[in-house]
């Protein structure tokens, strides 16, 4: 008999192992695309970063950078924890779990990248320990971490998504990590990096973050694809109260991130005002809501034109930057008459 019984819906409880026929080839394609974009920390060139920190940047800018890196170093670990404890458990399709495994590797890679960065940027061991303890002793980071933990814990007790209420709870966790943590907190952090990058500062940080950014974009796309799939399979889950919950969560995330901005920008940095950061967050939040198929709520305009820079193709001069736009896992046979 050729037909295989698989769970009919993505969030049905269980441990499905059947890859053929494949229910969700898109997840598998995402997995393969992720592998093509493999990079390593060793490829990143930090050689000019320390000079920039020492000679080219103000105390206010150094403060911004150290706080940012401290946030990243813990942020990716938090995402990885949620992935293992919650997402992997409940997204019941082997091809989706393949993607999540890949994502887990990428989160570890990001942690390694920011670890290397902190070790490089913060030479004093005592200071370094403090930076790694950011979730505990830096209030603005602590606040963001608490927001994340609350949503991890919210479904920690769920063993099986066997009711609509539980499925909705799970979806809120997924949306929180995709739209608020990776999609908003990280996107805000990327904006600061891009701001510095647009001024030619910290190429190591910018280069690595660019790759992190590329990975995070893929993670978000995956999570949103899961949401879209669930919406297709179980449209009833997406009712008005769900929409209201997402909106409230988003508003809280914006507040957390704005408070973080106040800390980051406390020293005054020309070109980055807290007011503009908040507007930028609102723009990003609206985009996430729209991608989730929900109504936009803020209607702000992007105040950071330098973010245009990350929306377009890169062209690096190899004398100056290492070119980052290549793929791994190229395949095929030699042919002399293929079209090109």
């Amino acid at each position: 008999m050729s037909a295989v019984t698989r769970p009919s819906r993505l969030l049905d409880p269980g441990m499905c192992l059947t890859l053929r026929p494949m229910a969700y080839p898109k997840f598998f394609e995402m997995y393969r695309a992720g592998i093509k974009n493999t990079w390593t920390v060793e490829e990143i060139d930090f050689s000019t970063d320390l000079g920039d920190l020492r000679n080219k940047m103000t105390a206010a800018e150094r403060h911004l950078v150290q706080r940012l890196v401290a946030f990243f170093a813990t942020g990716d670990s938090i995402v990885a924890n949620n992935l293992v404890l919650n997402l992997y458990k409940h997204v019941n399709a082997p091809e989706a779990r393949m993607y999540l495994s890949r994502q887990l590797y990428e989160e570890a890679l990001h942690v390694q990248f920011y670890l290397t960065l902190l070790d490089t940027y913060v030479p004093d061991p005592e200071e370094r320990f403090r930076a790694f303890a950011a979730v505990e002793n830096i209030p603005s980071i602590k606040k963001k971490a608490e927001f994340c933990f609350r949503w991890i814990d919210a479904i920690g007790e769920l063993d099986a998504l066997d009711s609509c209420a539980k499925r909705r709870q799970f979806l809120l966790n997924l949306v929180c990590f995709a739209a608020c943590i990776e999609g908003l907190f990280f996107f805000a952090a990327f904006a600061y990096v891009y701001f510095l990058r647009s001024r030619g500062l910290l190429h190591g940080l910018a280069g690595g973050t660019n790759w992190v950014f590329r990975d995070e974009s893929a993670h978000m796309a995956f999570a949103f694809e899961v949401v879209a799939t669930v919406r297709r399979e179980e449209p009833d889950l997406f009712d008005a109260s769900f929409e209201e919950d997402v909106a409230r969560m988003m508003a809280e995330a914006i507040d957390c991130e704005t408070a973080f901005a106040e800390d980051l920008l406390a020293g005054g940095i020309a070109g980055l005002s807290v007011r503009d950061v908040r507007r930028y967050l609102e723009v990003v939040a609206d985009q996430r809501l729209a991608t989730l198929g929900l109504a936009k709520r803020y209607g702000s305009k992007n105040p950071f034109p330098f973010m245009d820079l990350q929306d377009v193709q890169e062209l690096a001069n190899f004398f100056e930057r290492r070119v980052s736009a290549y793929q791994v896992g190229v395949t095929g046979e030699v042919a002399l008459d293929a079209s090109f």
């Binding site: 807290v274 245009d308 042919a335």
Partner: protein, 850 residues
């Protein structure tokens, strides 16, 4: 800080109240009427904001003053909005910022709007020019001669130059034309400011303006005032620029003006291997790019007689080179860079091809080195015939690097027959590995040894061999243990050689000829002025006196003429440009030979026998009598330079000139340049002008352009002929680029940095493409450009939301939904699903994804 909540629907379009007249822009300031919808309204609320002046005093931020300052720079720029720049600048400011921060922020703000309106690039450039001017004048430097005098006092400027300038101060000061600053786009001026202008060693303030910089370079490369003024005119009009090392170093205390150095392989001895590290470091220090062959060094497993041990092959040596290259920082201006060449018969070739992989043992990885394959014809023929290929240890078969053509093939086959091969592989397997390296790293450039030698003016006598090309694969010169090849480069900007005849843009051939003549004299001059970091470089350069005159802005020319890159007219025009450049360059070199004498090795060249480049290609030029006359003059007078034409990649100088790089098609209508000075947005201003003409340049269009990664192929509103003109490198058939390069090649006595572009490469495509490049007789190719498999999510435009109505692809595979599941597939969804399933089973051949 108190954050005001912005009402979500309070946006009305109240923007742009700068009168768009052509000669003056008068912003009307009406604080009750914010110019750019909601984001700016916040700025007006914060009138309490103060700035700190240079004196240390603070004053309230004055919008009016900023608007006036911006407005002064906006003259003639009809589509810029000074008010908008001023208000946005204030919005990004913090309380207590300095006035100089404010100035810089206004420049960055203007630059940020380039995508929306390319005229902001001009505005930002003018604001920056004003800023630079203030910086220079603030140090009591009011004129060119004062700038040189300051450089002299600070120990930056060469004695020779400061004496020349002091003796001709009045004439030279009068030659400066400040209006030429307006030729710059922002990115170009920014590059000049950040990295080319001389800086005070302690304060790091620049001590010359961009025009004073150009005149300094011109004076340093001239014997007389009139020569200097002629050169200055070319530089400042951006019609021709010498290469970066010349721009960095001319007129300074270290006049290392050459771009490229080609070092022969070290001999198979520890001493020469270490001597080469020192050579590379010395040459890198002053901005040179290095090519280094490694054909002669024994391979892994080879016996070391003195210690009775076995060699670890070339990889550990290259690992050391990698570290050495990374350690040399070219005065903070750019990083050292080196390309290692290896012939594919070397037994370490497989490890060599993995040096740039990003996985595997780090001890065998060299992330800072570039790699190139130096490929004999025999290898390509074995690939064609699907034959075997033998790998040799150069310790056992040492003669191969110094042979090419039939002599190489005889020696290679003889070594095979004598059973000396270390290993045999299928030629196609090795070729596939080369292709994989290209696809995965862009490196492992394919350069062809036999054509490079047979069509080189310097290889007329036996024993003269080109062993490698350079860092950018456009230089081909002989090397030996005692001769390190050197090349000085400069490039003509074709975008500035266009005239309009009856509304039609066409190439200005007379101007091109004049530019070539001035440029060749300047390049020749560099040979005598140059500082040589190692003796073997001087030895070679004095004998051969090679120079490399190149081109940039070919794409600009095609845009101005509205020619698709692969149109037959474009191909013919490109060929003719190269023929003209070669003709006038040779003519100038003959004249120089008549005045100053031919280069010492002239009698040993092919030119002395009357052979010119196109003869080696079997090409007969269009105007044969003209060439025959020139050929006679070459034989009678000799040439001042053994090699004259080379098309360099022009990465940095094309930025300064604001044109597209060398002979390359654009990569996108919208892209960013990543440089040491930061990232810069570039939008195709020719396209924007066309779209404006059609009334199509608006927010929606910009968003679509971004989402399409800078491609216009989905813009149905744009007429098809224009869509063809504005294709990107990813959308032009690579066959046409190769054909164009081959046509041009007959008039290029060195070579060209030819990048090839395949968005999503596979081995089949690549192997066919490089095979074709070899068949067409190209001497060298450069990077393979490809694109990442996934992209960063767009932050400033919305991606379309995923469609919720995709069918269940399992249906295609005979799957039946479990009872109760809502899986209904529409007919189209089933078709899409079939395509997906097919691509999963058979990813390389599925038409649906190509």
């Amino acid at each position: 800080m108190n954050i005001d909540r912005i009402p979500s629907n309070g946006t009305s379009s109240l923007r742009s109240h700068v009168a768009p007249t052509h000669d003056s822009v008068r912003p009307s300031i009406t604080p009750s009427c914010p110019p750019d919808s909601e984001p700016e309204s916040g700025a007006f609320a914060s009138t309490s904001m103060r700035v700190t002046k240079r004196s240390g005093r603070t004053e309230p931020v004055n919008l009016d003053k900023i608007v006036r300052a911006v407005g002064r720079c906006a003259a003639g720029l009809a589509d810029v909005d000074a008010m908008r720049i001023a208000t946005r600048t204030i919005s990004g400011l913090y309380d207590g910022a300095t006035t100089s921060e404010l100035d810089r922020l206004s420049i960055q703000t203007a630059a940020a709007y380039i995508v929306e309106e390319p005229q902001y690039a001009k505005l930002a450039a003018r604001l920056l020019a004003t800023y630079i001017d203030k910086e220079v004048r603030g140090q009591e430097i009011q004129s060119f001669s004062q700038s040189i005098a300051a450089g002299q006092r600070l120990g930056l400027v060469a004695e020779r130059l400061s004496e020349f300038v002091a003796a001709n101060a009045r004439k030279l000061n009068d030659a400066i034309d400040p209006k030429r600053d307006r030729e710059f786009e922002y990115f170009g001026l920014r590059t000049v400011y950040d990295r080319y202008l001389l800086k005070h060693p302690e304060t790091r303030l620049v001590i010359e303006t961009p025009q004073q910089f150009f005149l300094r370079i011109a004076c340093a490369l001239s014997d007389t005032v009139s020569e200097a003024v002629e050169l200055y005119d070319l530089f400042s009009s951006l019609a021709y620029l010498p290469s970066s090392p010349t721009l960095f170093n001319a007129g300074t205390r270290h006049e290392q003006l050459s771009s490229c150095f080609l070092l022969d392989s070290p001999d198979d001895h520890l001493e020469t291997i270490y001597q080469r590290y020192a050579d590379v470091a010395m040459l890198s220090k002053f901005s040179g790019g290095i090519g280094l062959a490694y054909h002669r060094v024994r391979s892994r497993g080879s016996l070391i007689e003195s210690t009775n041990g076995h060699s670890n092959g070339i990889v550990p040596w290259l690992k050391t080179l990698d570290a050495s290259v990374a350690a040399v920082n070219q005065g903070g201006k750019r990083k050292g860079a080196c390309c290692v060449y290896l012939e594919p018969w070397h037994a370490d070739i497989e490890e060599f091809l993995e040096l740039r992989d990003n996985t595997g043992d780090e001890a065998s990885r060299t992330h800072n080195l570039n790699l190139a394959n130096w490929i004999p014809d025999l290898f390509m023929r074995r690939v064609e015939l699907d034959g075997e290929w033998s790998l040799f240890d150069p310790k056992i078969v040492p003669q191969l690097p110094d042979l090419f053509g039939e002599a190489f093939e005889a020696a290679y086959v003889d070594a095979e027959d004598r059973g000396l091969a270390h290993k045999k592989v299928k030629a196609r397997d090795l070729y596939a590995r080369m292709m994989r390296t290209l696809a995965q790293t862009g490196n492992g450039w394919m350069t062809f040894k036999d054509k490079s030698n047979k069509a080189c003016n310097q290889t007329a006598l036996p024993g003269r061999v080109v062993h490698l090309s350079n860092l950018c694969t456009e230089i081909l010169e002989v090397t030996s243990a005692g001769e390190t090849a050197v090349c000085n480069l400069g490039s003509i900007n074709l975008a500035r050689h266009v005239k309009t005849d009856g509304g039609r843009a066409e190439l200005d051939w007379d101007k091109l000829a004049r530019t070539v003549r001035v440029a060749v004299r300047q390049l020749d001059q560099v040979i005598d002025l140059n500082y040589y970091a190692i003796p073997s470089a001087r030895a070679s350069n004095e004998r051969w006196r090679p120079v490399g005159l190149g081109l940039m802005g070919l794409q600009d020319l095609f845009f101005q003429m509205r020619l698709p890159f692969d149109a037959p007219e474009a191909r013919e025009l490109s060929r003719r440009i190269s023929e003209e450049v070669y003709f006038h360059a040779l003519s100038t070199s003959v004249e120089l030979a008549a005045q100053k004498g031919a280069h010492p090795a002239f009698a040993e060249t092919r030119a002395a026998r009357g052979e010119l480049q196109f003869d080696a290609w079997g090409v007969v030029p269009a105007d044969a009598p003209r060439w025959d006359a020139l050929r006679r003059r070459v034989r009678e007078q000799g040439l001042r330079n053994s090699l004259i034409v080379a098309i360099a990649p022009t990465a940095t100088i094309a930025s300064i000139a604001g044109c597209y790089e060398c002979i390359e098609p654009q990569v996108s209508n919208l892209f960013k340049r990543e440089t040491l000075s930061g990232d810069f947005l570039q939008v195709n201003r020719y396209l924007v002008a066309e779209l404006k003409g059609l009334g199509l340049w608006n927010d929606a269009m910009r968003a679509r352009l971004k989402l399409a990664e800078g491609s216009v192929q989905s813009l149905e509103e744009l007429p098809a002929d224009l869509r063809a003109v504005y294709r990107t490198a990813w959308e032009i058939p690579m066959r046409s680029l190769i054909d164009m390069a081959a046509d041009r090649g007959a008039f290029i006595d060195q070579s060209q940095s030819l990048n090839l572009f395949i968005e999503n490469p596979n081995i089949g495509q690549l192997s066919s493409m490089y095979f074709y490049a070899w068949k067409r007789g190209l001497k060298t190719t450069y990077y393979l450009r490809s694109r990442p498999a996934t992209r960063i999510a767009k932050a400033t435009v919305e991606s379309p939301a995923p469609k919720p109505s995709e069918g269940d692809p399992r249906a295609a595979a005979g799957w039946t939904p479990a009872p109760g599941a809502a899986a209904e597939a529409s007919p189209t969804a089933t078709k899409d699903a079939a395509a997906v399933a097919c691509s999963l089973e058979n990813p390389e051949t599925c038409e649906a994804c190509q």
